[in-house]
């Protein structure tokens, strides 16, 4: 379990993250949602020590992560940031092998190689193994990076907008993999995500941020509610239950004129 206690981040005089406290339950997917500029990515970066915080603590199983050696932490938590542009000539397998660095420090053992193979199989990357990263499509590349975190074999996995720039098919694919990781390997996954319906369908818990503060945090059924979301996003949101999922509908009902006409025609008939 990770407990975040009152972390704050200042840019100049501006508090971009203000006294955020939350706890992350083991073996669940927790989504961080909220409007642009709410501080989601900043919170994620602070919890994973990528960014120094100005105050507050992050406890991992009761121990402060800021005082732990970085090399030990890399065996417990992993973080994948959005948009990894790499101009390196590096193959998929070599990238995934980096996941073993916290354990092997670059000298791969047979056991490391076995785990790398397993990660490649798990993400179904076998045919791309020897291709260079910059030759892959967006979805394949994202899978390669996730394979690296699988090879890193940490209990906690943080992902910053893993669906960025992916189409629907690949987005669903990635989310299914994350669910599988939780189910089969009992991982704890924390993601920053923009699409509220992906958050609603695939996560267990949701933390909503607004203006650098926690607006609400709870199970997805506690958070995906009309009045709560309307308050956070400051727009009209309707929630329908479709095939057992709470789906948010946030389009202007007059958006499509042809639908309007269709409704009128129906009414006349």
């Amino acid at each position: 379990m990770i407990s975040v206690k009152g972390i704050t981040k200042l840019y100049g005089d501006k508090k971009v993250v203000d006294d955020v406290s939350l706890s992350i339950a083991k073996g669940k997917i927790t989504s961080l949602i909220g409007p642009n500029g709410a501080g989601k990515s900043t919170v994620l970066s602070m919890i994973t020590r990528l960014l120094d915080n100005d105050s507050g603590d992050v406890l991992l199983e009761g121990e402060n992560i800021f005082t732990q050696p970085n090399s030990e932490l890399a065996k417990k938590i992993s973080i994948l940031k959005q948009s990894n542009h790499l101009e390196l000539k590096i193959t998929v397998r070599e990238l995934i092998a980096f996941g073993r660095y916290p354990y092997s420090k670059g000298r791969l053992t047979n056991e490391d190689n076995a785990l790398i193979d397993e990660a490649i199989d798990y993400m179904e990357l076998g045919e791309f193994e020897d291709r260079f990263i910059d030759e892959l499509s967006g979805g394949q590349r994202q899978r390669a990076y996730i394979a690296m975190t699988i090879a890193q074999d940490t209990e906690y996995i943080f992902l910053d907008e893993p669906l960025n720039n992916l189409d629907m098919k690949h987005s669903v694919q990635i989310m299914q993999i994350l669910r599988r990781l939780v189910r089969e390997r009992n991982k704890t996954i924390i993601i920053v995500i923009h699409d509220i319906n992906f958050a609603s369908c695939y996560s267990d818990n949701i933390v909503a941020l607004k203006d650098g503060e926690v607006a609400i945090s709870g199970t997805k059924n506690e958070v995906i509610k009309k009045d709560i979301l309307e308050d956070i996003y400051e727009m009209e949101i309707n929630i329908e239950c479709i095939m057992g999922h709470q789906i948010c509908i946030y389009f202007d009902e007059h958006a499509d004129a042809t639908v309007d006409d269709f409704v009128k025609e129906q009414a006349q008939i």
């Binding site: 994973t48 020590r49 990528l50 970085n70 090399s71 030990e72 932490l73 890399a74 065996k75 992993s78 973080i79 994948l80 940031k81 990894n84 790499l86 101009e87 390196l88 000539k89 590096i90 070599e94 980096f98 996941g99 660095y101 916290p102 420090k105 670059g106 000298r107 890193q152």
Partner: protein, 319 residues
């Protein structure tokens, strides 16, 4: 298969380096003055190896940190500072000053001031600019322009005879390198190399970028600032030993990337060092045998490196 290719390449480069060096040592050697000529050529080769490796290693590491193939540590105004130091000595103390003529004294003075300047730009400004390496370099270049103009101004005020003496000190040359200093530089270089090679795997990780490196458990900020100190020392010792060679690093690292096509620093560090030695020996041969020492090697290297730089810039976009 790929690994095999890279190893063969390394062997090939080593053989080429040996051939070029051997050719340089034996070309037009005059048996009558053999005992004068041979040691002098060997000395130059030794200086070339030291400087070549120092510049190659520092440039490879620097480019890994800044994640950019075009920038090198020597563009941040270090050559201007070197010129400024030498000019100030002549301007204030005259051409007969031991600070200029005694190569050991000059070496230590230059070394200390250059290292201080580099450390100032790297360490202090690194924090100030919040790790923005581009701004850092820009500040370095601005300071370089500032020192350059001060030097030009002082150079106008000294006599033309004094200027000719000064001019000799301003350009890199392997012709008159002091043996003791060479030994000292070699020792410093070897210590730095040991530190780098003890942990060269972490360089591979750094190449992935800050976030990924931290994720994999590298203490990024500390590692980078340690490497920056090593770079500062390497660049400063080579400049203090022979003078500035601005575009050497750019030239050899990019050739190494073209040849090896890898991110692995084990290959890059060794390969770049070999290419660097080959380039310098070739340059020295041109200076010595073609121009009869009437042109300085740094000018030749800058010319070739500079043209290559423009070629690189124009070619990049086409891909």
């Amino acid at each position: 298969m790929l690994k095999d290719y890279k190893n063969k390449l390394l062997v090939g480069l080593s053989i080429l380096a040996l051939l070029v060096t051997g050719f340089y040592l034996l070309y037009q050697i005059d048996m009558d003055i053999f005992f004068y000529q041979a040691p002098s050529r060997i000395r130059r080769v030794a200086a070339i190896v030291i400087v070549g490796v120092a510049i190659a290693v520092s440039t490879v590491i620097f480019q890994t940190i800044v994640k950019n193939r075009i920038l090198t540590p020597s563009i941040m105004g270090l050559d201007s500072v070197y010129v400024f130091i030498q000019t100030t000595i002549v301007f204030l103390a005259g051409v007969s000053s031991p600070l200029l003529l005694n190569s050991q004294l000059n070496y230590f003075l230059s070394l200390i001031l250059l290292t201080l300047f580099t450390l100032f730009v790297f360490k202090y400004l690194f924090r100030l600019t919040r790790n923005n390496i581009f701004i850092l370099l820009l500040i370095g270049i601005i300071l370089g322009t500032f020192f350059g103009n001060l030097s030009t101004f002082m150079q106008q005020l000294i006599s033309p005879d004094d200027f000719l003496v000064l001019q000799n000190a301003l350009f890199a040359s392997f012709n008159a390198v002091n043996e003791n200093l060479m030994l000292l530089t070699a020792v410093i270089l070897i210590i730095m190399l040991i530190i780098v090679f003890m942990d060269f795997h972490s360089l591979d990780v750094l190449a992935l970028g800050r976030d990924a490196a931290i994720n994999l458990g590298v203490n990024y900020d500390r590692k980078v600032s340690q490497l920056l100190v090593i770079i500062a020392i390497l660049v400063s010792v080579s400049t203090a030993l022979v003078g500035p060679i601005m575009f050497l690093g750019l030239l050899v690292v990019n050739i190494a990337h073209e040849l090896f096509k890898t991110y692995k620093h084990a290959y890059l560090l060794v390969g770049t060092s070999l290419i660097s030695i080959i380039a310098l020996v070739l340059g020295q041969m041109i200076v010595q045998f073609v121009f009869q020492n009437s042109v300085e090697i740094s000018v030749i290297i800058n010319l070739v490196g500079g043209v290559y730089f423009i070629y690189l810039m124009l070619r990049r976009g086409r891909k």
